[in-house]
């Protein structure tokens, strides 16, 4: 039997995570963010744009897709804050993940906490979110310039619970001085879920982290009121070695 040709990312590992932050030892345990509002949308984009941007350890979802996520967290041990990120849908072995290529936060101290805990490298930004009867709406502005406006129109209620699945995100961090993909993993307890049609009045691709990655075809948009439990980082992945070949391990 000859080895089959598989569909992995094509980005050389040595070009990956050049700005990766060192991970510090986690002591916070689980962090619960009560009554958060999560605005999430998924779009398709051309596979040809994705393969050169994923490291060789990851394979893309088929079709290629990217997700936009905005969390508005009104209460919890970190205080009130908002955070947002954009990521490409990918797989570590069989597991669905999103590889972050841009992240934003509206508080510097929370941004530093996310960076130290998960390696998420957030840009300081103004982040707004609002649910109205006809739509859910989110906006990110950096230095007064809008870089993202995400709208989910005609929201319809869904049964909360297992109808909604958010993929955990991966981002590059330095662990023991090596560039490593670290997973930011959360558990969700849904109170209310709406689904609608996503639209992007503003998407500044370069400012969103990669000029070559833009949403092309809308899949779905959701707005949820949810209790989020941020779990300590548990897994890491060598960006050069696929999970099924032993690239994934515990931190």
């Amino acid at each position: 039997m000859s080895a089959p040709e598989l569909l992995y990312g094509q980005r050389p590992a040595n070009t990956f995570g050049t700005k990766a932050a060192p991970l510090t030892k986690d002591t916070a345990g689980e962090v619960v963010l009560k009554r958060a509002q999560v605005h999430y949308s998924l779009f398709e984009l051309p596979m040809a744009n994705v393969l050169p941007r994923l490291p060789t350890a990851l394979h893309p979802s088929v079709p290629a897709a990217m997700g936009l996520t905005v969390w508005k967290c009104p209460e919890g041990p970190l205080g009130s804050f908002s955070v947002a990120w954009v990521g490409v849908a990918c797989r570590t072995g069989i597991k669905p993940r999103h590889l972050i290529h841009g992240a934003w936060c509206d508080r510097e101290d929370v941004s530093l906490w996310l960076r130290a805990r998960y390696g998420v490298d957030c840009t300081l930004a103004a982040i707004s979110s609002l649910e109205t009867w006809d739509r859910a709406w989110s906006k990110i502005e950096v230095a007064g310039v809008p870089i993202l406006e995400l709208v989910t129109e005609n929201p319809q209620p869904l049964v909360p619970g297992s109808t909604v699945k958010y993929s955990p995100v991966l981002n590059a961090a330095r662990v023991e001085d090596a560039v490593t993909l670290v997973q930011m993993e959360s558990a969700f307890d849904f109170h209310r879920v709406l689904r609608g049609v996503p639209r992007l009045p503003v998407y500044a691709a370069e400012a969103m982290g990669d000029a070559g990655l833009s949403p092309h075809y809308p899949i779905s948009g959701t707005w949820a009121e949810v209790d989020i439990t941020l779990l300590p980082p548990r897994f890491k992945l060598d960006p050069e070695i696929p999970a099924e070949q032993g690239g994934a391990s515990r931190l």
């Binding site: 089959p4 598989l6 569909l7 088929v62 072995g93 069989i94 869904l158 297992s162 109808t163 993929s167």
Partner: protein, 369 residues
């Protein structure tokens, strides 16, 4: 208990013409052998755009080729997708009847609704409606078969009175089935008097209560067609080898390959939250569940048919005692195994396992079958 084969027609990259042809030809060769060995059915899925995982976009063509190369084995749609963006119900009635004639009355008509964003999104289907459209299709298709002329006003289609041709060879019509993935769908099958083609259970102990519930519920069925098709077929894997350990190793390879392929697709539940899609599709219990806690990541092994003949006699006996009428096997994944190894596994199963089981299934009454 009876035994069958089920095909996804998974295909390795690179997708050359020669590779694609080999996948189809190898599958047909396996079915021809299986018929000689005493297998009683072959099923073919319908999938679209599922790279590597399944290149079975036209099950009716595969089944026609199989039917013309065989004489007894029954040919099953596993399943015909009942979604308006993909197929009109008239077309399914026509295709199934056409194949029923060409096969001499060997069609099993499995129905379903698709479970991936790849497919439903690709056809721009209305995802929220797929349960409703399935219910409308399964009611009207038997009427098209049984009535000389038929017309209807449905929620999703309407047709003035027409004679849908040809009529099937089996009288009054082929047995009707539904693919069962989410828990509870077997009861929907029972309520409608349809067979349950169970694609989501690999564990005998977990399956037994669901089979019992189906048997109880089907007693009170209101059949969508002319008769109740009280049958339960369960999708499974097969690799039979004298060396039990080697068989299990090969089984792990098949499951791993299958999981890799299925894992790349985008399930509806991952992409398009909907009240009618809460479970993983794509044979979720025959592959590791990506969303499960770590301890449950691997599929349950108690019912998978990887092993020596003695081991498989025991496993199949447990399925029989649980109430299954048929086990339908996947025997290949992306041509991972050499064709000769697949044929050898089938021969060993046919020679040393299959004779231990009665072939008297709960066959429904279909006069010409």
């Amino acid at each position: 208990m009876e035994f069958g084969l089920i095909y996804e027609l998974s295909t390795p990259r690179p997708f050359t013409r020669e590779t694609q042809k080999a996948v189809y030809e190898n599958a047909i060769e396996q079915v021809v052998l299986a018929e000689q060995l005493g297998f009683s059915s072959v099923w073919c899925v319908e999938h679209h755009f599922l790279e590597e995982y399944s290149h079975a976009s036209c099950p009716e063509m595969f089944l026609t080729a199989v039917a013309r190369a065989t004489s007894r084995i029954r040919v099953g749609f596993g399943i015909a997708t009942c979604v308006p963006a993909m197929h009109h119900p008239i077309r399914w009635a026509e295709k199934a009847a056409f194949l029923d004639i060409l096969s001499g009355g060997r069609v099993e008509f499995g129905t379903g609704r698709s479970s991936t964003w790849n497919e439903l999104g690709g056809f721009d289907a209305v995802i929220d409606d797929t349960k409703k459209t399935w219910d409308e299709y399964i009611r009207v298709i038997p009427q098209m078969w049984m009535n000389e002329r038929y017309g209807y006003e449905g929620q999703f289609h309407r047709m003035p009175e027409r004679n849908v041709l040809p009529k099937p060879w089996q009288d009054p019509h082929p047995p009707m089935w539904v693919a069962v993935t989410a828990a509870g769908t077997e009861l929907e099958a029972a309520d409608r008097g349809m067979g349950a083609l169970i694609l989501s259970i690999a564990d005998v102990e977990r399956c037994a209560p669901r089979i019992a519930a189906y048997r109880e519920r089907v007693k009170h069925a209101t059949p969508v067609g002319a008769f109740v098709n009280e049958q339960i077929a369960i999708a499974n894997w097969l690799y039979c080898h004298p060396d039990n350990a080697l068989a299990k190793q090969r089984g792990d390879e098949l499951v791993g390959t299958f999981g890799y392929m299925a894992g790349q697709t985008i399930e509806v539940s991952e992409a398009y939250p909907a009240n009618n899609y809460k479970a993983l599709g794509l044979l979720s219990s025959l592959r590791p569940d990506p969303s499960a806690p770590d301890a449950q990541k691997k599929p349950p092994e108690s019912g998978l048919c990887f092993g020596s003949p003695a081991q498989l006699i025991e496993t199949c006996r447990r399925w029989e005692e649980a109430g299954a009428d048929q086990l339908v096997f996947m025997v290949q994944a992306r041509e991972h195994l050499p064709q000769q190894e697949v044929l050898d596994s089938l021969k060993l199963f046919g020679r040393e396992v299959l004779p231990h089981f009665s072939r008297q299934a709960r066959r429904p009454v279909a006069v010409n079958a």
